[in-house]
């Protein structure tokens, strides 16, 4: 087996480089700190000269997401990336994609809010990401990377899920993971899909009508509410299947733990350090890390909560995922929350203090 090439890069750079290697057809984006390295890396690497991948700096975030709508509607693997205020602008397009069942990928490298907020890391877009974000009854699949390696790995996974279910997928990262440099092994090069492959795999795609079928139309509009209800029921059935089969999570030192910290993304990395420190002071703590935030690992958290003294939800926000954890635990175990706001990243010893407070 060939030796894997380990490189050192930022999470944002890993997203860009992994996309080129995964045979992605197009990137459409608009710069915003702390995410700009995605488009900067693509501009530097010039994939249009090698794989033929299209890279466009659009005139706005609204244009970016609608370019993804167009490209993905033709069966292409297309994605965009932005940070919190830019993702807020994209919500209309994401809702339209969910309604029209278009498989695209959106990367959110979160920063502090609300509004323009700060450019420092935050996890305060959890509600927006996991509740759909735009109008209508819909969900996007949300993956939360906790390392630069996962930033790279989740690109291909996102596209696979997006095309498997014909649904938008969001990679919910933040300024910590996007900006920090870590070791990463990039995926091997894979060619972009040919027109024939897309025709075979995506019979729904708008890539020129053939004589043997009716025209494909990508739209989220339907004037008859009876027809729209049937379409909504179809979407809900799809979401049920996703909930059943696509839940992903990770546990760490949970077996003997009295307290379980539930945290995603960069907060899970902080929690790991805090758990080491807590164990040194005699507090047995473990970590449950949801990897898919939607579908949420509800049953798995309910199971892991059994027999514990407490659950502490650590987030870099004012308390968002804690609501899903409380619903999952359903009163069987006390659930607390610790978070910092506005772009401040919690210190591990603050998390240990929060654990101590739960103990008393």
């Amino acid at each position: 087996m060939a030796e894997q090439e380990v490189t050192l890069m930022k999470g944002n750079e890993a997203i860009a480089r992994a996309a080129v290697r995964c045979g992605v057809d197009g990137y459409f984006g608009y710069p915003i700190t702390p995410q700009s390295e995605v488009i900067e890396t693509l501009a530097l690497d010039k994939p249009w000269e090698t794989t033929g991948m299209v890279v466009v700096q659009a005139e706005s975030e609204v244009a970016s997401i609608n370019m993804v709508y167009g490209a993905a509607g033709a069966g292409k693997r297309a994605f965009t990336s932005s940070s919190s205020p830019g993702i807020a602008l994209m919500q209309e397009g994401i809702s339209y994609m969910a309604g029209a069942e278009i498989p695209g990928v959106v990367v959110n490298v979160q920063r502090g809010g609300p509004g323009l907020g700060t450019i420092q890391p935050s996890q305060s877009d959890y509600f927006q990401a996991t509740r759909g974000g735009g109008n209508g009854d819909y969900n996007v699949i949300v993956l939360a990377p906790a390392s630069v390696q996962e930033m790279a790995d989740f690109v291909d996974l996102s596209f696979n899920l997006a095309f498997k279910y014909r649904n938008p997928v969001m990679i919910l990262s933040d300024g910590v993971i996007g900006q920090m440099m870590e070791r990463v092994v990039l995926p091997p090069y894979r060619p972009r899909r040919t027109e024939e492959e897309i025709r075979r795999e995506c019979p729904w795609a708008t890539m020129g009508r053939t004589k043997d079928r009716r025209p494909n139309i990508m739209t989220s509009l339907e004037l008859k509410s009876e027809v729209m209800e049937v379409h909504n029921l179809h979407l809900q059935e799809k979401y049920r299947k996703i909930r059943e089969t696509e839940v992903r999570y990770d546990t760490w030192q949970c077996d003997d733990a009295d307290y379980v910290i539930v945290a995603f993304g960069s907060a899970a990395r902080l929690a790991q350090k805090a758990i080491d420190m807590a164990r040194d002071c005699g507090i047995k703590a473990g970590l449950f890390r949801p990897i898919t935030l939607w579908p949420f690992p509800t049953e798995q958290i309910a199971a892991v909560a059994q027999g514990r003294k407490g659950i502490l939800v650590v987030e870099i926000n004012a308390g968002q995922m804690v609501e899903d954890v409380r619903l999952a635990v359903n009163g069987s175990t006390p659930v607390g929350h610790f978070g910092r706001l506005g772009g401040i990243v919690p210190e591990p010893d603050e998390i240990v203090d929060a654990l101590r407070k739960m103990e008393n």
């Binding site: 050192l8 930022k10 700190t33 702390p34 700009s36 450019i119 900006q179 920090m180 440099m181």
Partner: protein, 76 residues
Amino acid sequence: MGRMKGAIVVDTARCKGCALCVQACPKAVIAMGKRVNVSGYPYVEVICADECIGCASCGIVCPDGCITVYRKRIDD
């Protein structure tokens, strides 16, 4: 053994102002500046270059590899 004299160069365009180097420096050579770079991040600046001993603590802790450390031995 001679003394070490050091000098550091900060890649201010890549610095995100995490200030880990400020904490790591044993001689308080580095401090957070008031200006921001093209990304909007405040970046660190060298405030007393003469104090630098070239220990490279700042370069080791920098998560973004922004600091290059030069050092040379000064004979007593």
